[in-house]
Symmetry: C2
Subunit: 218 residues, 2 copies
């Protein structure tokens, strides 16, 4: 097992820990981007209230409800529709290392659930139209692009964003485990992500200078 990884039972046996459950909802699709690039799968992630990208879910108290019931409750609040998640959908549990900037000591539980394309579309609509958390805990749902366009657009730029905790690692792991992206292709995308990331820092520095100027003028 990778460092910090626990079985679901081991994780539940840890006393005095806080627990968080998140789920990757996805479907297969035959649609193509611009009628050319196969989209293959629709994976849902969200822009969270804290400005980071992550999967739907949240804190669960295992002394009051099962992990899966708690996750279902969070998903209903965030997505506006009931999505039953079961023990069979559990993928991994992990202890956040004490050195992490995000919630050290937290135990995270990750689930993956495959749905029908029409169900995923219904989730997207409900997340905006009926979810109580829309505009609160959730600033918007986004699909993960798995393709790579000629100029490099798609998966690589997406992976260069800022993610909460180990959400990017959970996404990358899932893409490999479910054979959604070939290991070579994913490696290439991540290498490109790192290059893009270096360019982004220049943009951020420029924005900081832009603000410096305005601070003097205002």
């Amino acid at each position: 097992m990778a460092s910090g990884q626990l079985s679901r039972a081991e994780a539940l046996a840890c006393s005095g820990r806080r627990h968080a459950c998140h789920v990757m909802l996805y479907c297969d699709t035959k649609t193509q981007l611009f009628g050319r690039f196969p989209i293959r799968h629709i994976i849902l992630m969200q822009m969270r209230f804290d400005g980071l990208l992550g999967f739907p879910g949240g804190l669960v108290n295992p002394s009051k409800e099962t992990l899966e019931a708690g996750l279902g409750r969070e998903v209903l609040e965030e997505l506006g529709v009931a999505v039953p998640v079961s023990v069979e959908d559990h993928v991994e549990s992990r202890l956040v290392p004490p050195s992490s900037p995000y919630s050290p000591g937290l135990i995270t539980h990750f689930y993956v659930k495959k749905m029908e394309e029409e169900q995923i579309r219904e989730v997207e609509r409900a997340a905006v139209c009926t979810a109580t958390d829309h505009g609160q805990e959730v600033l918007g749902m986004v699909r993960v692009p798995l393709y790579t366009m000629r100029a490099g657009g798609g998966l690589a730029p997406f992976l260069s964003h800022s993610f909460i905790g180990n959400a990017r690692s959970q996404l990358v792991d899932s893409l490999l485990r479910l054979n959604m992206v070939a290991p070579e292709e994913l490696h290439k995308a991540l290498t490109h992500s790192l290059e893009m990331h270096t360019q982004t820092v220049e943009g951020l520095k420029a924005a900081l200078e832009q603000t410096e100027g305005k601070r003097k003028r205002f």
Copy 2:
């Protein structure tokens, strides 16, 4: 004028150039996050097909339509609802420098349009429910968090994402010009963004290593 900046008339007088128009739609709001943090304004951005964050809009051909008519057409495709944008909403035009990795030589036109909160919510719903570009050019609409939470969540993490062209700069400029965020606060957020950005690179390197391992195993 800042480098590369043109008046709308100067921009239109440039022959043989491609033009792109984008618009920042926003409203005031009295809602509070978790009943505590004033949200103040809802600003809409989108996850684009290329995996980058940007404003709604796209390419316009000024020999066939006005800039504003073209922008209106793009907005209707992407957001599923007609949002009339006029010359009065124009903020700046800019020539993308030849050194830029994104569309060097392109002329970008930026518009800002204030709406009512209910109209913004209608745009969010239509973008998912009726827009032809949903799941194609647009992977999802997101709101920009303008607040800063105790642990630093909100504006700073959002600004650390990867944006298309000069979209982050247009956002930062608009926040200052419309007094949505105080210059000191924005400066602090951008400084924090740069720090977070450095942390992100570690996550990306870890993901790359994760893929290295899988490449050998698969």
